[in-house]
């Protein structure tokens, strides 16, 4: 029943916001986010005590077709729920910086999105996963369409929507094909059906799933919607996209692809690993070439997710564990780094890095906090980024040392573009206009402080997350020779 509560809280929040009008909208949104976080922490506590019956729910929806309203909070799902519930209040809090027109609709759509992502992360029914995965598109589409200030937003949102929809339709076909053998959309049944299939069949199904997920992650060459969409979206929308939404795809790889199509991944999935590795290289190169900070972040996100997808697809315990850890870490870092964009953009009205410089002189605290985030992003030990990427590369190494060498460049190249960005933006001497750079407000300090604290805390002591996810990782890999 608690799982339903996790869905109900944001839905209720959305209802309150839509009905309540613009007054107090952001307070309601923040309260919803905090209540959701408390509920997830409660679920974690229950799971730690072994009281699992409260954490699952199963009712028939369309009986003859084997579709049910089925949810279950196992270890990985709790981590993912934590990701949503942690980032939701952070994103709302980050948006306090901005005055959005019609805030009740803006935050209402945000809550709807949180509900759909929460659903995707907790359901154990394949079709329901697809439904939540797709539904998340609608609120974010309208958030970008109505709150973007980009002149070309109509075309960009259309490209984004069609690209993702088109990709996920392949997943639908693959799911239906699995279902045709399984006779039910229950995850366990889908696993059994997938494993009973021949290698070629699994290979095709893997292709279907991977195309869908590769669009959303995104993996080269299906990434072309991403930089323009991140650029056009209002900052809160970009945070939702980069922080949570694309994790539905990597979560899908962990939850469905790896356990259901073991042969499809190992025997026929090499091309996906190669694409992920190319994605890392290409996106890092593009990130190095960017002049604008927001676009740099967009490309860097593709690079990090290439490692994530390759690590998960190596299909061993390290890869999956690293995947779970990296999803959480990347989520927090994305929100924080895009918040840095928001701080700069709100003061300078642009994000061209070569026109900045010397912020450290004016605002040393900001530079210090930003530096901590940059360190997390380049996966320095003792930051959360390190734990995740190390495990991912470790998992990947067991499958293909050569490709790992390529993907491992992400750490080196990441250091190149992140440190260069830091250097260009923060160091040097401040020009006359940069001297006007206003000090951080207490709201901004709190927000950045929380993010930095989380990044460092998870880096020093990742054990609670890892040991939470571990039993589920083991059960997903059970019966596979890894």
């Amino acid at each position: 029943m608690l799982t339903l509560l996790l869905l109900a809280i944001p839905l209720l929040g959305a209802g309150l916001l839509f009905a309540g009008g613009a007054k107090n909208a952001r307070t309601i949104a923040l309260a919803t986010g905090i209540v959701e976080l408390l509920a997830v922490l409660g679920a974690w506590g229950l799971s730690a005590q072994g009281q699992t019956e409260l954490l699952s729910f199963d009712r028939e929806w369309i009986g003859p077709l084997g579709i049910s309203y089925a949810f279950n909070l196992d270890g990985i799902s709790i981590v993912m729920a934590l990701l949503v519930a942690l980032l939701l209040p952070l994103i709302v809090y980050a948006s306090f910086n901005r005055i959005y027109k019609h805030p009740h609709y803006f935050y209402g759509l945000m809550m709807l999105m949180a509900a759909s992502m929460m659903g995707a992360f907790t359901t154990t029914d394949g079709l329901l996963f697809y439904v939540f995965y797709e539904f998340a598109l609608i609120p974010i589409y309208f958030m970008i369409l109505n709150w973007s200030e980009h002149p070309n937003k109509s075309a960009i949102t259309l490209k984004f929507f069609i690209y993702t929809l088109f990709g996920s339709l392949f997943m639908l076909v693959a799911l239906l094909y699995l279902y045709n053998t399984a006779g039910s959309f229950n995850m366990e049944a889908l696993y059994a059906a997938g494993r009973s299939m021949s290698g070629t069949e699994q290979g095709w199904l893997f292709a279907g799933f991977f195309i869908a997920f590769a669009v959303k992650i995104p993996v080269f060459p299906l990434h072309s919607w991403q930089p323009s969409t991140y650029d056009a979206a209002p900052t809160a929308g970009t945070m939702l996209l980069a922080g949570i939404m694309l994790k539905m795809a990597t979560y899908g790889l962990i939850r469905i692809v790896v356990p259901a199509l073991p042969e499809g991944v190992t025997e026929y999935g090499t091309w996906a690993l190669v694409l992920s590795a190319i994605s890392v290289l290409y996106a890092s190169g593009m990130a190095i070439a960017q002049q604008r900070y927001k676009l740099l972040l967009a490309w860097s996100s593709i690079a990090h997710l290439g490692v994530l997808s390759a690590g998960i697809l190596s299909g061993n315990a390290q890869g999956l564990q690293g995947g779970v850890m990296e999803m959480l870490s990347h989520g927090i870092l994305s929100v924080a780094l895009f918040f840095v964009y928001d701080i700069i953009e709100s003061r300078l009205n642009h994000d061209h890095m070569d026109k900045m410089g010397g912020i450290r002189e004016v605002n040393p605290l900001f530079a210090f906090l930003f530096f901590a985030l940059v360190m997390g992003s380049v996966a320095l030990p003792l930051t959360s980024g390190f734990v995740g990427e190390f495990l991912l590369l470790l998992g990947f190494y067991q499958v293909s040392p050569w490709l790992t060498a390529v993907a491992g460049l992400t750490v080196v190249l990441g250091a190149v573009y992140m440190l260069r960005a830091f250097q260009v933006m923060m160091l040097g001497s401040a020009s006359e206009s940069m001297r006007q750079f206003a000090p951080l407000t207490s709201h901004e300090k709190t927000m950045l402080g929380i993010c930095v604290a989380l990044v460092i805390a998870l880096g020093i002591y990742p054990d609670p997350i890892l040991s939470l996810a571990n039993p589920t990782v083991e059960s997903l890999l059970q019966g596979l020779n890894r």
Binding site: W61, I162, Y179, N180
Partner: protein, 459 residues
């Protein structure tokens, strides 16, 4: 039988009310009458009534027929309420039109209950003839006249082909009765004459449901006809044609020869490709919806291909969800066009979110449902087709369905983007309370039908 009596008497009653100058009573009487029809159909549930059994029993009101009748009556109620605003309440034109629609709905009931090819032909004609008149009912408009003429000429040609097919089938089987035809086919053997006859019936039906290559009339007729009539044609007329087709090809003529399956698979593929590509380049909203309607007919034809294992309930679900969504879409087009000198181009939708939030949101929900985005009922409707196609191993068709769905999303989303484009000095579009409530109910229905899909399993 009561169902048929109610709906025909209702049509006559409407005309009588006009003569008696009680025009204000027309709407309430029709709505109550149609609700009564739903009630009677529910009461008859499971009785499998065969009226006039002694005369050959040409109709059977089994659950399938009753369910289709309920769906048509429900869509009819919504149609009457929405169209009530279009035709001024004081004129006799309104009563004429409403009476014609009710007579046409008689044909829809006959088509869902017939068990005899003679009744099939009667049903098709009763359904179509009033619509020929209705399409041309905007007498002073050239396009409306064109629409009526086109529909009449091509429609009668299709009826002729259908009738020819029926007579050839009679020649081959020696009976008009569906059961006798089914018994005749028990061995699965189609004599050449029967093959010819059924092929002609297939052509006649595919014309009525407007799938490629027999779809050419639809865009012109849909665009030219007064918008409420277009809404009626796209929802109830198309649904009735499918109900009739399912009865014949989905049950009586089973097992279908492989050639027919192949032909229908090709038709679906062609329909989906042509209709979606054509819809993509339209600048007129009504015409775009017409092409989108053709593509939906292609999807629905999938149920007939898979009829050997698919119960009719899925076809009903599609009819209902598509009907609900199109009802909203066409009437929003009508309202938007009415306020700007009958401009029903896509550009007329700019800024609708400011001008009429209710219509903008309802239209968005309707279009997203047609595009098949969860959690809207249009998704499950398409989903049912696709599962059936996979179960019947038409994988290439599945791929085409998927690709064209993505194309479909493009034009639906373009219209949605227009709706949400802000414009300067937008005047508000005022709509009546009854219309606003109906739009809200239809939008909610679009969502509720998704979550309550299991309710349909009772049939």
């Amino acid at each position: 039988m009561k169902e048929l009596l109610i709906i025909s008497l209702l049509g006559i009653a409407v005309l009588a009310l006009d003569i008696l100058k009680m025009r204000k009573m027309v709407m309430p009487v029709i709505v109550l009458g149609l609700l009564g029809l739903i009630g009677v159909s529910t009461a008859d549930w499971g009785r499998n009534e065969v009226p006039f059994a002694a005369y050959g029993g040409m109709l059977t009101f089994d659950n399938t027929a009753l369910a289709f009748t309920i769906i048509f009556a429900l869509l009819g109620v919504f149609w009457i309420i929405l169209a009530g605003d279009y035709y001024a309440a004081s004129t006799s034109k309104r009563t004429d039109i409403f009476a014609l629609v009710l007579f046409s709905m008689c044909g829809a009931v006959v088509l869902s209950a017939y068990t005899n090819l003679v009744m099939l032909f009667l049903g098709v004609e009763i359904l179509s003839i009033p619509v020929y008149v209705l399409a041309a009912s905007n007498r002073k408009n050239v396009l409306s006249n064109e629409s009526g003429f086109k529909y009449f000429f091509l429609g009668s040609l299709a009826s002729a082909v259908l009738l020819f097919g029926i007579s050839l089938t009679y020649g081959a089987v020696g009976s008009f009765d569906l059961q006798s035809i089914q018994q005749h086919l028990e061995g699965g053997y189609y004599s050449p004459m029967l093959l010819m006859g059924t092929a002609m019936m297939l052509v006649g039906f595919t014309f009525k449901i407007s799938v490629a290559p027999f779809h050419f009339w639809a865009p012109d007729v849909y665009q030219g006809a007064p918008t409420p009539i277009t809404a009626y044609m796209a929802t109830i007329v198309k649904g009735a044609a499918f109900a009739g087709m399912y009865k014949l090809f989905g049950s009586a003529l089973q097992p279908l020869p492989t050639a027919y399956i192949t032909a229908m698979v090709l038709m679906v593929a062609l329909t989906l490709i042509v209709a979606n590509l054509m819809a993509l380049v339209q600048t007129n909203a009504k015409r775009m919806l017409a092409f989108s309607g053709i593509s939906h007919a292609g999807f629905m034809l999938g149920f007939i291909i898979a009829a050997s294992t698919t119960p009719p309930v899925y076809l009903m679900y599609y009819t209902l969800t598509y009907g609900v969504a199109s009802m909203v879409a066409f009437f929003v087009v009508q309202q938007v066009a009415a306020i700007q000198a009958d401009d029903d181009s896509v550009d007329a939708f700019k800024g609708l979110i400011k001008r009429s939030p209710v219509m903008a949101v309802s239209m968005t929900i309707a279009l997203l449902s047609m595009a098949g985005i969860p959690p809207l009922s249009g998704f499950l409707a398409k989903y049912y087709v696709i599962t059936n196609m996979i179960a019947h191993e038409h994988m290439s068709l599945v791929i085409i369905m998927i690709l064209t769905s993505a194309i479909g999303a493009v034009y639906y989303l373009k219209l949605i983007a227009h709706i949400f484009t802000p414009i300067e000095n937008a005047g508000r579009i005022m709509i009546s309370d009854s219309m606003r409530r109906t739009f809200i109910v239809l939008s909610l229905l679009t969502i509720v039908l998704f979550f309550a899909a299991s309710l349909l399993e009772v049939i």
